[in-house]
């Protein structure tokens, strides 16, 4: 059985930002929303994708310039995990996070 530790504050920030954007977010937008450095963000995104908490797809829109880029979306599993981890977090600090996750 794989033991999953309680997510770090940075991971919770990322999950919360993604929960508030049903259409998904690019890495740069996510970085700005979560207030994290890219070197912190991408390893966490990789781990979350491996756990199945988020989907990462290549964006191939016609109006896009430059190479394809990843767009990250929270999966149902990730949304469930976010709810689970914030339920025992003291209010009111995470009241907004809970409402976003729901």
């Amino acid at each position: 059985m794989t033991r999953i530790r309680r997510p770090s504050a940075a991971t919770l920030k990322i999950l919360t930002c993604l929960a508030g954007s049903p259409g998904g977010l690019h890495g740069y937008a996510l970085m700005k929303d979560a207030g994290l450095a890219s070197g912190t963000l991408y390893p966490i995104l990789g781990r979350l994708a491996n756990r199945g908490w988020l989907d990462k797809a290549w964006e191939t829109g016609d109006d896009e310039t430059g190479p394809p880029r990843r767009i990250y979306k929270l999966t149902d599993l990730g949304r469930g995990q976010l709810k689970h981890y914030i339920q025992d977090t003291p209010r009111p600090a995470h009241t907004q996070i809970i409402s976003v996750a729901q």
Binding site: G27, Y28, M31, S38, G39, L45, G46, T65, G66, R70
Partner: protein, 182 residues
């Protein structure tokens, strides 16, 4: 600059095991969509630092990296202290004390790399001895001597605290390795 960092990210990406990927390919793809300039460079630079950190962790190991960094910090402390002591216009007694204290940190640096067990023993003994020196000096036994008592007390308590800190650091580094095998 941005192109150089992108090439560097490519090299670092090739050094990381596939299973331990830290999203460098995604980061590089995203960087191409960020307006050129400081924003893009800082985005890439953060990725470069993270990749170097991961490579060192996977190839060298967290414990060994901790040992090397601890030894590096102690070596810098030793050399800057020594250079300062040589050039400072202190009297002979103070120079003598400093010349005795600073090499202890360099010895600790050697132990930090070679054996954490020896480092723990060395720092615990040093910490206790320096604490005893501080207590003896505080009792006023040498009050009538011409020695710089206040300076010696300051050095003794500082050395005791630094050695205690090094003992904690060595214990923590040992615990990292134990935790990995648990």
């Amino acid at each position: 600059m941005s192109q150089i960092l992108d090439k560097l990210l490519g090299v670092l990406q090739s050094k990381l095991p596939e299973t331990k990927g830290v999203g460098l390919s995604d980061l590089r793809a995203e960087a191409a969509h960020i307006p050129a300039g400081f924003t893009r460079v800082s985005f890439q630079w953060s990725g470069v630092l993270a990749a170097i950190g991961h490579i060192l962790r996977f190839r060298v190991g967290a414990q060994k990296m901790g040992q090397i960094l601890l030894a590096f910090a102690l070596t810098i402390f030793f050399w800057t202290g020594l250079i300062y002591t040589v050039n400072a216009p202190h009297d002979g007694e103070i120079k003598l004390v400093l010349n005795f204290v600073f090499p202890l940190y360099q010895i600790a640096a050697v132990f930090a790399v070679t054996s954490l067990g020896i480092l723990k023993r060395f720092t615990s003994v040093c910490s206790v001895l320096w604490a005893m020196v501080w207590v003896i000096l505080s009792l006023g036994v040498l009050g009538s001597s011409s020695l710089p008592i206040d300076f010696l007390r300051a050095i003794a308590i500082e050395a005791a605290c630094i050695m205690a800190g090094l003992f904690i650091a060595a214990s923590f580094l040992e615990w990292i390795e134990d935790g990995r095998h648990a």
